[in-house]
């Protein structure tokens, strides 16, 4: 599975540490978005794995796993679209 990932980043120390032009490795993340969130979605047992939350998440942070859905809280902004789209009210928003 391909996906941008968090890397450790050190500010360049010398000119040659910078890339040629404005071209750098694709999908290179250095900061999380978790601090944006006031509420976090929690997937409850009522989930029927219909994947609507997975599909409609603007940040793509709902992950399909072997044992159902999981959430990448590093990048979830807590918008609550998943809670609203869920046909079974299986997602609850919890204050951080």
């Amino acid at each position: 599975m391909n996906k941008p990932t968090l890397r450790s980043y050190q500010k360049p120390q010398k000119l040659s540490d910078y890339p040629l032009g404005t071209a750098s490795e694709a999908g290179h993340l250095v900061t999380k978005n978790s601090g944006w969130r006031n509420e976090r979605p929690i997937i409850t047992d009522a989930c029927i794995n219909c994947l609507q939350c997975y599909l409609y998440c603007p940040d793509g942070v709902i992950l399909k796993t072997e044992h159902g859905l999981d959430i990448d809280y590093d990048f979830c902004k807590g918008c609550g679209i998943c809670e609203k789209i869920c046909p079974k009210q299986a997602i609850k928003m919890e204050v951080e």
């Binding site: 500010k11 360049p12 910078y18 040629l20 032009g21 404005t22 490795e25 694709a26 290179h28």
Partner: protein
């Protein structure tokens, strides 16, 4: 090698053909148009294997070239005057992104008033856009610099776009005998384009990103340094060119009879030929005059200027440009070198040829007289009316 009787534009197109660009975006504008006409014919008769793209504006011409360059393709486009100004946004985009595009610009006056004839206000208004700027003198140099420009631009130390300027009509549309190198020799001179500054499926990249205040100055310094480093690459390229084709242009500048000259005229572009003839004529009369042709304005040939001018008494800068409210831009640049290096000589600016006004042999003699007698610093040559009202 073959010989042909070609216009400046035709010769340039031959040089582009020999460089084998993979993508060419074309849009007409007088007096550039015949370049893209020739290239279209070459694609039609299969003497050139390029993707020819009929864009709908100059902005798109350069935007398209940037896109192709970002995939690692060698690209070419051409423009003039209003077209150059219309693509101004993309000029800085190409240089900041370090895309080694080569573009021909037919130097033409800028509106208003409308005028299709040659002067250098179009490219000089874009002197700070981060492109290497070359000014060529004749059809042979046009062809040769089309080829050399790719060699300079694509050097990894440089990775900067090059704008080759041909004086509108005077050079673009006049015919001379030109030597056309063989494709074999051209290929020996110019290797295929290779760069890390591109997207590929094996090594995906994000290009043309934003850089905030924490890193932005470093990117700009690196861009500046590449331009400074290009001076060496320009000279190496000229030497390699001379080795293969037997013609050398001397790098950033080309001098003529300056060794013992007290009075040196600085020129750029096609007017240089006539100025050389005047130098010969005055030399025959025993006048110690010489000439320095600026071939490159960016990077600016500071060291060459100091070496050439240090023992002169007075120098003049002849240019087809005026920065309204001040003086000619080339003059400003030359004066800066002179001041920084503590040279003691008088400097004069001769603004001529605006909107295609003829510059005569008599005008040039008048300029050399002015250098020897002294007088006003900034002078308009060839004005048809009295300015003392």
């Amino acid at each position: 090698m073959t010989k042909a009787f070609l216009s400046g534009n035709d010769a340039f197109a031959e040089g582009v053909r020999l460089a084998r660009p993979q993508v060419i975006s074309i849009y007409p504008i007088t007096p550039q148009t015949t370049v893209v006409e020739r290239l279209s014919e070459m694609v039609e008769d299969s003497s050139l294997a390029s993707e020819l793209i009929h864009v709908e504006s100059e902005h798109s011409a350069l935007s398209c070239a940037i896109g192709a360059s970002a995939m690692g393709a060698r690209t070419f486009t051409a423009t003039s005057s209003q077209g150059l100004l219309y693509m101004a946004e993309c000029l800085q985009y190409a240089s900041g992104g370090r895309f080694p595009i080569v573009m021909m610009n037919a130097n033409r006056s800028t509106a208003l008033p409308w005028n299709i004839y040659g002067d250098q206000r179009d490219s000089l208004s874009q002197l700070d856009c981060g492109w290497i700027q070359v000014y060529v003198e004749d059809a042979q140099e046009s062809l040769d610099m089309a080829l050399q420009s790719y060699h300079i631009a694509e050097n990894p130390l440089v990775s900067t776009p090059v704008m080759v300027n041909l004086d509108g009509f005077v050079l673009t549309h006049t015919y001379e005998t030109v030597e056309i190198p063989s494709q074999t020799d051209a290929d020996r001179f110019l290797p295929p384009f290779q760069t890390e500054n591109k997207m590929s499926l094996d090594n995906p990249k994000n290009l043309a990103f934003s850089v905030g205040p924490d890193n932005n100055m470093e990117f700009k310094y690196i861009q500046h340094k590449a331009m400074l480093d290009s001076r060496r690459v320009i000279e190496e390229t000229d030497a390699k060119f001379a080795e293969i084709f037997g013609r050398s242009y001397g790098g950033l500048t080309q001098d003529y009879r300056i060794d013992d000259a007290d009075y040196i005229l600085i020129t750029l572009g096609s007017i240089t030929g006539l100025c050389r003839e005047v130098v010969d004529e005055l030399r025959e009369r025993g006048e110690k005059v010489g000439l320095l042709k600026l071939r490159f304005l960016r990077p600016f040939p500071s060291d060459d200027l100091v070496a050439a001018l240090e023992s002169a008494k007075a120098i003049g800068v002849l240019e087809k440009d005026i920065s309204f409210g001040y003086e000619g831009t080339v003059y400003t640049n030359v004066n800066s070198v002179i001041a920084k290096n503590g040279l003691h000589l008088e400097t004069y600016n001769f603004i001529a040829g605006l909107g295609g006004r003829d510059i005569s042999r008599e005008n040039i003699k008048e300029i050399f007289r002015h250098l020897q007698t002294g007088g006003q610093h900034v002078n308009f040559i060839g004005l048809g009316v009295s300015i003392d009202e």
